[in-house]
C-alpha cells in the first residue's frame, strides 16, 4: 500500500540521517570521555567536512575520494588547533565547564563566519558517491548514498571498536576516560590524548558531513543544528558511551522522521528538542545508562 511504503521510506531516510547524528554523537563522547568537556564546535567540523571537500573538488579539481580524504585530514587538524588554542589555555587555568562550553561555542561561530566570508552564502553541494538510480525494495527507494552512509557508519563503528579495544593508543584513551590521574601516573601522555580526541572527533564529524552533503546542501551555518542533534544522540545513548551515542543517533533520526510524518516538517526541530528534554528530565543517563 502507498501508506506502508511511505512510512518505510520515512524510516529509511530517518535511519540514514540517524547514522550521521550517531557519528557526531560519538565525536561528542570521545572528547567528553577524554576531557570532561562538551565541545560545542562539533557542528562546525561537520559543516567543514562537506565544505572543504567542495572547495577541493572545484578549485583543485581533485577526484572525490582524494578531496574527501584531504578534507577529513584538514578538519582533524583544525580540531587539534582548536584544542591547542582554545581548550588547552582554559584547561590550564582551571576554567569552569561553562566557560569552556562558551569558548567552544565562540570557536564555532568564528569558524562559521570565516567560512561565510571565504565561500559566500550560497549553499553548496558535492556529487553523489554513486550516480545510479536508487534501488527499489517493496515500494521503498533506497538511494546508493543511503547505502554508503549506513555502510561507512558501520565500518567506522567497527574500526573504532577495534581501535579502543585492541590498539595501544585506543586503550590509553580509554584509560584517560576512566581515570585521568591514574592514567597520567601510568605514563600516558594525557595532553596528547586530549589533542588526539579532538582530532578523532573532528574526523568523525567531517566524515559525517561528507556523507550527508550529497543529499542535502551545505552552507556555512548548517553546523549548529547538527551539533545539537549529535548532542541529543549522545544524551539519549547515555553520555560517555560512544556506541550508545550511535544508537541514540539512530533513535533520534527515526523519531524525527516519524514526527515529520505525523506532524509535518515544520515541527522537525521541535520534535528533536523535545526528545532531548524528555531524556534530560527523566532519564539523563540515556537508554543504556551512563557509562560506569
Amino acid at each position: 500500500m502507498a501508506d506502508a511504503s511511505y512510512i518505510g521510506q520515512t524510516l529509511i531516510d530517518g535511519l540514514s540521517v540517524g547514522c550521521i547524528y550517531g557519528l557526531i554523537g560519538i565525536g561528542f563522547c570521545v572528547i567528553y570521555n577524554a576531557s570532561g568537556i562538551v565541545n560545542f564546535a562539533q557542528g562546525a567540523f561537520v559543516m567543514l567536512g562537506g565544505m572543504v571537500t567542495f572547495v577541493l573538488l572545484n578549485t583543485l579539481g581533485l577526484p572525490l575520494v582524494a578531496a574527501g580524504a584531504l578534507a577529513v585530514i584538514a578538519v582533524a587538524g583544525l580540531g587539534v588547533v582548536i584544542e591547542r588554542l582554545v581548550v588547552r589555555p582554559l584547561w590550564d587555568r582551571n576554567a569552569t565547564m561553562f566557560v569552556m562550553i562558551l569558548a567552544t561555542l565562540a570557536a564555532q561561530i568564528m569558524i562559521e563566519r570565516t567560512t561565510q566570508i571565504l565561500v559566500g552564502d550560497q549553499p553548496k553541494s558535492i556529487p553523489l558517491f554513486t550516480d545510479l538510480p536508487p534501488i527499489r525494495v517493496a515500494g521503498i527507494s533506497i538511494s546508493y548514498q543511503t547505502i554508503w552512509i549506513i555502510a561507512v557508519s558501520l565500518l567506522l563503528i567497527g574500526l573504532l571498536a577495534l581501535f579502543f579495544q585492541k590498539t595501544l593508543v585506543g586503550r590509553a584513551m580509554r584509560a584517560c576516560s576512566i581515570n585521568r590521574e591514574a592514567a597520567a601516573l601510568q605514563g600516558i601522555p594525557v595532553s596528547r590524548m586530549l589533542a588526539l580526541s579532538f582530532a578523532l572527533s573532528a574526523a568523525l564529524g567531517a566524515i559525517g558531513g561528507i556523507l550527508l552533503t550529497p543529499t542535502q546542501f551545505t552552507a556555512y551555518n548548517v553546523g549548529t543544528p547538527f551539533a545539537i542533534s549529535g548532542f541529543i544522540a549522545a544524551i539519549v545513548g547515555g553520555f560517555g558511551r560512544p556506541f550508545g551515542a550511535f544508537l541514540g543517533g539512530i533513535a533520534l533520526g527515526l523519531a524525527q522522521a516519524l514526527a515529520v510524518f505525523a506532524l509535518g516538517s515544520g515541527l522537525k526541530n521541535v520534535a528533536a528538542l523535545s526528545v532531548l528534554l524528555v531524556f534530560l528530565f527523566f532519564r539523563p543517563s540515556g537508554i543504556l545508562g551512563a557509562a560506569k
Binding site: 570521555n33 582554545v86 587555568r93 561553562f98 565562540a106 563566519r113 560517555g240 526541530n269 528538542l273 539523563p284
Partner: protein
Amino acid sequence: MKNWRDFTSPSTCLRASLGYVPAVLAIALVGYAIIAGGFFVSLTSFALIYAIFVTGLNIFMGYAGQASFGQNAFAAIGGYTSAVLTTAYNVAPVPALFIGVVAAVLCAVLVGYPTLRLKGHYLAMATLAIGLIVYEITVEWQSVTNGYMGISGIPPLGIGSFEAATDREQLILLSVLVALCMGSAWLIRQSRFGRALVALSGSEDAARALGIDVARYKLAAFIVSAVYAAVAGSLFVHIVGFVSPEVFGLNMVILGFTMLYVGGIGTITGPLVGAIVINLLPEMIRGLKEYQDLVYGAALILILIYAPGGLAALGWSKRRSTSPATTTVELRGARTQS
C-alpha cells in the same frame, strides 16, 4: 566588597579605583549620546536594552552561579507578547509589557522546575533546547507571529498620552529604566535574598545545611532573570518597531554572554559596561561589519582565557579563588575545584 582599609597607599587606591573607570566611562558615553544626538543614539539604545538583558543573566549566572543558554526564550516571549498585543489588539505598550512579563514568569516556573534539577552541561543543554524551542515556535506559529516575515508597525513606547517617539526621548527613557534595573540588581545583591543566591554558587551543601532551600532559590533566580529578559525583549520591539524570530535567536545568547564576561560576571556594573563596549566598539572600527562576529568570537575567547573577571574586575588584587565564574559546575569526571 573591597576592603576599604586597603587604601593605605596611593598605588592601591589607584588600583582599586580602576575597577570603577569602565563604569564611569560607560555612563559618560550614554550621557554624551543623549546630549549629542544623532547616529550614536540608536546604538546606545540597543546597548541599554542589552544591559537590562545581561543584568538578568548576571543574577542567574553571576550571583547564583548557574548556567543558562536559553534566556533569549524569555526575551522572545516578552517581545512577541508586546508586539502582538500592541498591533493586533491595540493594547497600550505598558500593559502589554506587564502581560509579557507575566507570560515569561509563567513559562519560567513551568520550565524551571524540571530543568533546574539538572547540573553542568545537562543544565546548559536543557536551557539551550528551551531557547531553541521558543525560537521554533516563533517561526512556526505563523497565525500569531507571522513567522519569518515578522510583525511590523509596533508603536513606540509611551505612557498615556506621552510617547517617546524620537530617538533621544527613547534613550532618556531607557537610561532611566537601566538605572532602575541596575539599582534593583544592587539592592538584591545587598540583601538576604542576594546573599543566599551567591551562597548557592559557593556551596549548595553548606547552603542547605544553613536552611536555604536551594531548589526554591535557584528557581527564584531563574524567574528574576526571566523578568529582566522579558522586559528587554519588550523594550526592543518598541524601539525598533519590528520583530522577527532572528532578533531573539542564538545570536542574542552569544552576545549576551560576551557582554557578561567582558563587563565582568558577578559584578553590579559589569552588564552595563559590557553592553556599551560590545555595542559601541564596532562603530569605532569602521568597515568591520562583516568581521563583527569573528571579532566578537575571538574577543570572547581571549577574555575567557586571560581575563575571566572582565573589565569591572580591573584593579582587584590577585586572589586564589576568584568570582562566581570559577565555582564548580559538577560533571562526572570533569575538572573540579576543591
